[in-house]
Amino acid sequence: MQKAEKPALNLSTESIKGQAAEKMEHDLALLEAALYVAGRPLNLNELCSVLKTRSKNKVRKFAKELIKAYTSRNTALEILELKDERYVLQLKADFTPYVRKFVNRPLLSTGPLKTLSYIAYRQPVSQKRVVEVRGHHVYTHIRMLKEMGLISAERSGRSTILRTTEYFADYFGLSHDVAVMKKELKHVFEDYSKQEKSQF
């Protein structure tokens, strides 16, 4: 960032340069803010919406600038560019072992997590079916999961179809392709149940 180098002079070109630098600094901070609170990869469209611009080029440039700033600071956090021009702010992997113990809040309590796991496994699945299997209290869960961006709901005729989102896949490290994801889930699930059985 340029702030420290900003001159106190008030010459007109200098002042324009200063304004531009300040604007850029603010835009970089906006991107950083979005990546920080999202805690997940954001794509160019999402980042465009933060900067209220349609220019993907501009956002791309700024994202790269932000990556550079983080790299030069050399702190515990990093910004990475992922496949399909998605960007993520995350903890550098080296630091995980030292601070793992501070991660003790679950993403969801057991009830909503059960509902989420069922939707992931059976998706696309009608809300009606989820309610039949899980009971009427899941309406609250479904609402919460939607608010957290873990599932999406879509009206289809008279029923509502639920499926997991890309954020869900990112969070659990699963494929974005639903067919592949379900296979992955099935595999892990089968391995898991085998392990469970062998333990008892």
Partner: protein
């Protein structure tokens, strides 16, 4: 044939004929019918004549049930409850949460652990509706259609159930007195009748505290801490 039509059974005469005439039944005001009197006198009359006719008894019983339903339906014309009165107090402005990213501890392993549970319970849910075959043959044509009335009641039941679910956020316990607070006595009675229907369908459980006489309505899957007795 002619002789048979002339000599019509006693129950096709007033006052019992009302139980055997679909069109009349449709038009009457149910509050004007004393079912207990009609049925008692009908039985006495049949015993007197010595002609025990099960078909006629069945129809009389069915019609009586229908009149009860009509009475319930009149009771169940639900009105919107009045908006709750808001007490006065200082209302502080909302506290906006500072935004902090927080790594969460839920892993795919947790997801799978609970999935196991859910899939097990899925097996316990039967999706095919059990077709109930009636033991008795279909009612004769003189019987009016009850479906419409039942549907009405079902709509009201659904509304009430939705209101209950809303009040307890999916699952929970609510006192009958709290639920019907602010309603007139008649409206409370209507709600109570609907609750009985809901309880019969297993949608809610009702239980009463013997000391306070408070009725508790439980909705959804509840783990009652002290194993409170539930009875439908």
């Amino acid at each position: 044939m002619a002789a048979e039509t002339v000599k019509k059974p006693f129950y096709l005469c007033p006052p019992w004929n009302i139980l055997f005439d679909f069109h009349k039944l449709e038009r009457l005001t149910p509050w004007h019918v004393n079912i207990a009197y009609l049925l008692t006198s009908f039985l006495e009359e049949m015993e007197k004549s010595g002609q025990i006719d099960f078909r006629a008894s069945g129809v009389a019983l069915d019609s009586s049930a229908l009149i009860y339903l009509m009475k319930s339906k009149l009771l169940l014309k639900l009105e919107e409850p009045p908006p709750p009165k808001v007490a006065q107090d200082f209302l502080p402005p909302p506290l906006f949460l500072p935004l902090r990213h927080e790594l969460t501890s839920t892993t795919i392993r947790h997801l799978l652990e609970v999935l196991d549970d859910v899939l097990k319970s899925e097996g316990l849910v039967h999706f095919e509706k059990v077709v109930e075959e009636s033991v008795l043959p279909a009612p004769s044509e003189i019987l009016p259609q009850l479906d419409l009335y039942l549907m009405e009641i079902e709509v009201q039941m659904e509304k009430l159930y939705a209101a209950l679910v809303e009040r307890v956020k999916g699952a929970g316990i609510i006192e009958f007195s709290t639920f019907t607070k602010g309603l007139s006595r008649l409206e409370a009675i209507r709600n109570f009748i609907l609750l009985l229907f809901l309880a019969q369908n297993g949608k809610v459980n009702l239980w009463q505290d013997e000391e306070t006489e408070e009725i508790y309505i439980t909705i959804g899957d509840l783990k009652l801490a002290e194993g409170g007795e539930t009875s439908a």
